[in-house]
């Protein structure tokens, strides 16, 4: 596993590197001292795993993650921080407390490996540069944050410069336009139904004819999305395949 460490304190990074020497399967390929460096490193090295501090100068670790197109596996490493602890409790994210206990580090790494294996066995995980259904994005909505698998997302809705992401019972906003999302999403799974919506084809419950030769899709969550006439033609083509 190729990992990078993002922490503003040199000593903290060194300490973690030292601890990771015990785990030969983890190779530390880079370090960053703040969020901006972190983004560069993640994009250029595309690591399998990121150790991330939360309190950093400039931007917090959470903010950094929301800026990424697709979030890698992340293990948060933080000293006592009530705000972050709350986020962890709510979302069951992987996290380690400084000073890091070697046993807990081992547990966290095992968990990451398990997740990795699951994805490896599942089909259609070919890296095409597009975001597949097994990629995850990090979304933050006030105090709450989630890693969301794209396969769990039912619908993206455009709200000005933002996009609303519908998954399970939540619908937080992410700072991405629908057009840029469409470019990056796998069009076999995600379909642009109209100007305002991108739907997950696997989450469609019902298809009904609608005015003007359009279609009305009902999703698993009960959301109703209209497919414009032009797109309906495309949709039917895709479905008939």
């Amino acid at each position: 596993m190729r990992a990078i460490i993002i922490d503003d304190e040199r000593l903290a990074r060194n300490e973690l590197k030292k601890l990771l020497l015990e785990f030969p399967e983890v190779e530390v390929i880079g370090e960053a001292a703040n969020a901006n460096e972190g983004i560069d490193k993640i994009e250029s090295l595309s690591p399998d795993l990121v150790f991330l501090d939360i309190q950093m100068p400039g931007k917090t670790g959470f903010d950094m993650l929301t800026e990424l197109e697709s979030a890698p596996h992340v293990i948060f490493v933080t000293a006592y921080d009530e705000y972050a602890l709350k986020a962890f409790e709510v979302n069951a994210l992987d996290y380690l407390m400084k000073p890091v206990e070697p046993k807990r580090l081992a547990d966290a790494l095992t968990k990451v490996k398990q997740k990795d294996d699951e994805e490896e066995f599942s089909p259609a995980n070919v890296r095409t540069g597009l975001l597949g259904e097994h990629d995850q994005v990090f979304v933050k909505d006030g105090e709450r944050c989630w890693f969301v698998k794209l396969s769990e997302v039912r619908l993206f809705e455009s709200v000005g410069n933002y996009a609303k992401v519908f998954f399970s019972t939540h619908k937080p906003l992410i700072l991405k336009s629908l057009n840029s999302l469409e470019e990056r999403l796998d069009d076999k799974i995600f379909f642009r139904a109209n100007r305002k919506h991108i739907v997950n084809m696997r989450m469609i419950d019902k298809i009904e004819p609608y005015f003007n030769g359009g279609l009305l899709l009902e999703l698993h969550g009960g959301e109703k999305v209209e497919v414009s006439r032009r797109q309906a033609v495309k949709f039917k083509e895709m479905m008939s395949l």
């Binding site: 304190e9 903290a12 400039g58 400084k98 000073p99």
Partner: protein, 384 residues
């Protein structure tokens, strides 16, 4: 029967008294039941229903209670008036010279247009009109209430009074309760504040403790000498934060030792990102200061000025006499940007401690200086 004026007044007051007693009884009952059902905690719709029911029941109790008592004790003003009017009617009969005749049979319908008959009819009408009494066909006196509809007026009047009374009662109690709640809230707030001040003294950011421990662990291999020193520094801080609870004030030099230890540990973490400057007038070293106060200010300066900035920054501590005052100043690079409320714990706790210790004679101020620097200043009286 004729009632003398004195007697009339007596009966009037007795009737009034009886009515008054019934009102007291009914309203007392109403008050108890309102208390029992805790009307103030009911939703407003229910309060209105309770109000209407209360008015109805109280009104009925007062009205019928007074009426029944009046009839039973025979001290009803109305009954007495009726009797009085009867004697008036008999007198009137005499005055009109129709007493002993059967003038009451002469109604315009059943008699011919005889002028004497017409006079008789006029007499009958006049007596009935002025007293309410008249003789029926068999010559017996009968009474016809001249004030028809009085019953309803009485009921409505009673009810309006009761409703007004009840409204006043409810509003008054509501206001009273609100005021009491406010007072309770204030006293509670005060005790909470006092407790807070006590605990603040020993307040050291856990984030700092664990980060320092983590750095020390990294240093154990890298620089054992520095690691040992760091452990001593951390112990000093922890010890003095425990002792701070027991003391009102400490000499400045003791507080400065803690702050220096603290800064040394933070420099170990932030390395070249944190620059420290001290400018201490030696004469002020023995001045008493609240324990852990300077430390809190320095901690805030680092938290907001240095840890948020990628390039880091500086912290400068000054201590000097200014007239009759001792001034402690902590400056750090950075900007105040409305974060004072969000992270106001350090600021408000410092203000509270100074207020408690110096009874308003010490001052605390935090502001932007020269556009790129934040300065927090504590001014304490020298001889306090």
């Amino acid at each position: 029967m004729y009632l003398k004026p004195a007697e009339k007044a007596r009966i009037f007051f007795i009737a009034l008294f009886i009515e008054f007693c019934w009102s007291i009884f009914a309203t007392h009952l109403l008050r108890l039941s309102l208390k029992k059902i805790k009307w103030m905690y009911l939703p407003s719709k229910k309060v209105i229903m309770v109000f209407i029911a209360g008015v109805t029941l109280t009104g009925l109790t007062v009205y019928y209670g007074s009426k029944a008592t009046a009839l039973l004790t025979n001290t009803s003003l109305v009954e007495y008036e009726k009797q009085e009017d009867l004697s008036k009617a008999i007198n009137r009969e005499k005055e009109l010279n129709v007493a002993g005749t059967d003038y009451y049979l002469s109604t315009p319908e059943n008699l011919a247009q005889d002028s004497s008959n017409l006079n008789f009819t006029a007499a009958a009408i006049s007596i009935k009109k002025s007293t309410g009494w008249y003789r029926n066909n068999s010559g017996e006196w009968q009474y016809e209430d001249r004030r028809k509809g009085r019953f309803w007026w009485e009921i409505i009047f009673t009810f309006i009074l009761v409703a007004l009374w009840l409204l006043l009662y409810m509003v008054w109690h509501f206001v009273e309760k609100n005021r009491n709640d406010q007072v309770d809230k204030l006293t509670l707030e005060k005790t909470v504040k006092e407790l807070e001040v006590k605990t603040i003294k020993s307040h050291i950011n856990p984030h700092f403790i664990f980060n320092s421990l983590n750095s020390i662990r990294a240093l154990v291999d890298e620089n054992p000498q520095r690691a040992r020193k760091a452990i001593t520094e951390l112990s000093n801080i922890l010890r003095s934060s425990l002792q701070a609870e027991k003391m009102e004030t400490v000499p400045l030099h003791k507080e400065l030792d803690i702050v220096k230890d603290y800064l040394a540990l933070e420099q170990m973490r932030f390395e070249e990102r944190l620059k420290v400057e001290l400018e201490i007038d030696k004469a002020t070293l023995e001045q008493p200061v609240p324990p852990m106060m300077l430390q809190t200010l320095v901690e805030n300066a680092i938290k907001h000025g240095i840890s948020k900035n990628i390039e880091g920054g500086f912290v400068k501590i000054c201590s000097e006499f200014k007239g009759d005052n001792h001034e402690l100043v902590v400056q750090n690079s950075g900007q105040l940007n409305g974060e004072m409320n969000e992270d106001g714990f350090g600021i408000s706790s410092t203000e509270n401690r100074l207020r408690f210790l110096y009874q308003g004679k010490a001052h605390f101020q935090i502001k932007n200086v020269n556009g790129s620097m934040v300065e927090s200043k504590v001014t304490m009286p020298v001889n306090y």
